[in-house]
């Protein structure tokens, strides 16, 4: 029997601001601007929104959405604090809300002044889920995700022979895709040599292995699939969605396998709900806080075996026209960092066949992941249903 949540929810609206480095707008203003764009894209009125699952911590909360959008009867306000895994995990929460009839239209949104406002180095100590890292790791000089995730990348290199050339492939292909998109921070070509020559941040991560600190907002609307069918845009349904947490979720250092992410638990559940497997995926938007993170997630998603991610991505396989095009919008590495909500937006565009020069021909089924908070994971499988 099909899972109770399978294809009960749809991504009915998508919206985003310009992705920039340098804005005078507040994070909340960016979040609301993107939210209004998503509501308009869905063909809805702001007052139709009856659920909100905003990115947290940081940004608007229920009170802000009621006050700014005049929401007459907000029925659900939830947070899913999973760092970079938040947005896709929020789709799970929203899908449950619309599938059960609790809500009709749930708004998921992010607004971020990652360049002009709070920077990555100051974020760690502010989050309750990072209290252990702040107590035990910041004092010895480990602050930023780039440093904390670097040890896992190094171990993968030592155990499986993964190389900087593999990392560069992710960065270069992602940049090629970004250049096809009109709304990106990084719009100039990147070569393997330029990647290798970029300054070292936390070995083995160089500058071009790291995602952008940028300003921008993004939003999606999740609606009950039967309601979304009446809206203007092609229907994109949620076939499967799941979230997962790793062992020792607050400290990578104490995790029995530092290369085991929450995605390892989420992926089989999402595939089972969707009734599809890796070979059915036409296009994938993979959370790319770091190049290596993409490689490892492809392993955990079953596109290749454990340790095989480096060789797997080579030879054009992950580029447009390849067997598994990924991050067709430019991702967090080259488009902008709105905590992966731009990945959900891009996958929806792909399945609407509205992705412009980056369109994957005949895209029917796609996958999007979230990764963050020291290893939480989330994955959604979407389908073009109309």
């Amino acid at each position: 029997m099909a899972h109770a949540l399978r294809e009960k929810a749809a991504i009915s609206g998508i919206g985003e601001t310009a992705y920039t480095r340098g804005t005078t707008k507040s994070g909340l203003a960016l979040q609301l601007e993107a939210s209004l764009a998503a509501i308009a894209d869905a063909g809805l009125n702001p007052r139709d929104i009856d659920g909100v699952v905003p990115y947290f911590p940081g940004g608007g909360i229920a009170e802000d959405f009621i006050a700014n959008l005049g929401l007459p009867d907000l029925k659900l306000s939830a947070f899913v604090p999973m760092g970079g895994a938040t947005c896709v995990a929020a789709v799970q929460t929203a899908a449950m809300a619309v599938a059960t009839g609790v809500c009709k239209h749930v708004l998921i949104s992010v607004g971020r002044t990652g360049y002009s406002g709070a920077r990555v180095s100051t974020r760690l100590q502010q989050f309750p889920q990072f209290a252990l890292a702040a107590e035990f790791e910041a004092p010895i000089g480990m602050f930023a995700p780039a440093q904390l995730y670097a040890q896992g990348a190094r171990r993968h290199m030592e155990l499986y022979g993964t190389t900087p050339r593999h990392f560069a492939e992710v960065a270069v292909v992602t940049r090629q895709h970004a250049i096809l998109n009109g709304n990106v921070v990084m719009s100039k070509p990147l070569t393997v040599e330029e990647h290798h020559a970029s300054r070292m941040i936390a070995d083995p991560f160089r500058l071009f292995d790291c995602s952008l600190e940028s300003d921008g907002g993004a939003a999606v609307i999740v609606s009950a699939a039967d309601r979304a069918r009446d809206l203007e845009k092609p229907l994109v349904t949620v076939m499967g969605v799941a979230a997962g947490h790793p062992d020792s979720p607050a400290s990578i250092a104490q995790r029995p396998d530092i290369l085991e992410f929450g995605l390892a638990r989420a992926a089989p559940r999402a595939y089972a709900m969707a009734g599809v497997g890796p070979k059915d995926i036409d296009v994938a938007e993979i959370y790319d806080c770091f190049t290596f993170t993409v490689i490892k997630q492809l392993e955990l998603l079953g596109f290749c075996g454990k340790g095989e991610g480096g060789p797997f991505i080579m030879g054009g396989r992950i580029a447009l026209g390849g067997e598994l095009p990924i991050n067709t919008h430019g991702g967090l590495l080259s488009q902008g960092h709105v905590v992966g909500l731009n990945h959900i937006i891009e996958l929806t565009r792909q399945l609407r066949r509205d992705a412009g020069k980056a369109q994957v021909e005949d895209a029917e089924v796609g996958l999007v992941t979230g990764y963050g908070d020291m290893g939480d994971g989330s994955v959604a499988i979407l389908r073009r249903a109309a």
Binding site: Q125, A134, E135, P139, I140, G141, Q147, A150, G152, R155
Partner: protein, 142 residues
């Protein structure tokens, strides 16, 4: 005539704020002892300190001084100082170490060239007092 801008205050070292759970660990560090929390009921070690044993759910625990040897599990070399306090130290190696005590410790590894770093490399925990209350860990080759 120009006036030199006031010198920026020296960056402060980020320090741990011990909790009721972790205080015995930091007290041990101050005395150059590597104190690891153990479950009284099932005997298993756990780090970082927390109230409940995740194996048997016992609330009873004790801290024992443990051996300071271990083997490198992974490492990074920090070049970009995300906190200005570490600017002068960069680049610095931070090694994640499988301690013989059965838990992991992440700490700077001193005196080992980058080319000599390898998984399984033997190291020993050292103790560096940084304030009258706080002593931080570091590693050297065993």
């Amino acid at each position: 005539m120009s006036t030199a801008p006031a010198a920026a205050p020296a960056p402060e070292r980020p320090l741990p704020i011990p909790t009721r759970e972790s205080q015995p660990f930091w007290d041990g560090m101050r005395e150059s002892r590597f104190m690891v929390q153990h479950c009284v009921a099932c005997g298993k070690p756990r780090h970082y300190p927390r109230p409940v044993c995740p194996h048997c759910f016992s609330l009873e625990s004790t801290f024992r001084a443990m051996p300071t040897g271990g083997a490198i599990h992974a490492w990074t070399v920090c070049h970009h100082p995300f906190n200005f306090f570490f600017k002068a130290a960069a680049p610095y190696v931070v090694a994640l170490v499988d301690m013989d005590a059965g838990v992991r410790v992440n700490a700077p590894l001193r005196g080992v060239a980058e080319a000599d770093l390898k998984i399984g490399g033997r190291v020993r925990l050292g103790f560096e007092p940084v304030t009258k209350d706080i002593t931080l860990p570091f590693f050297v080759a065993e």
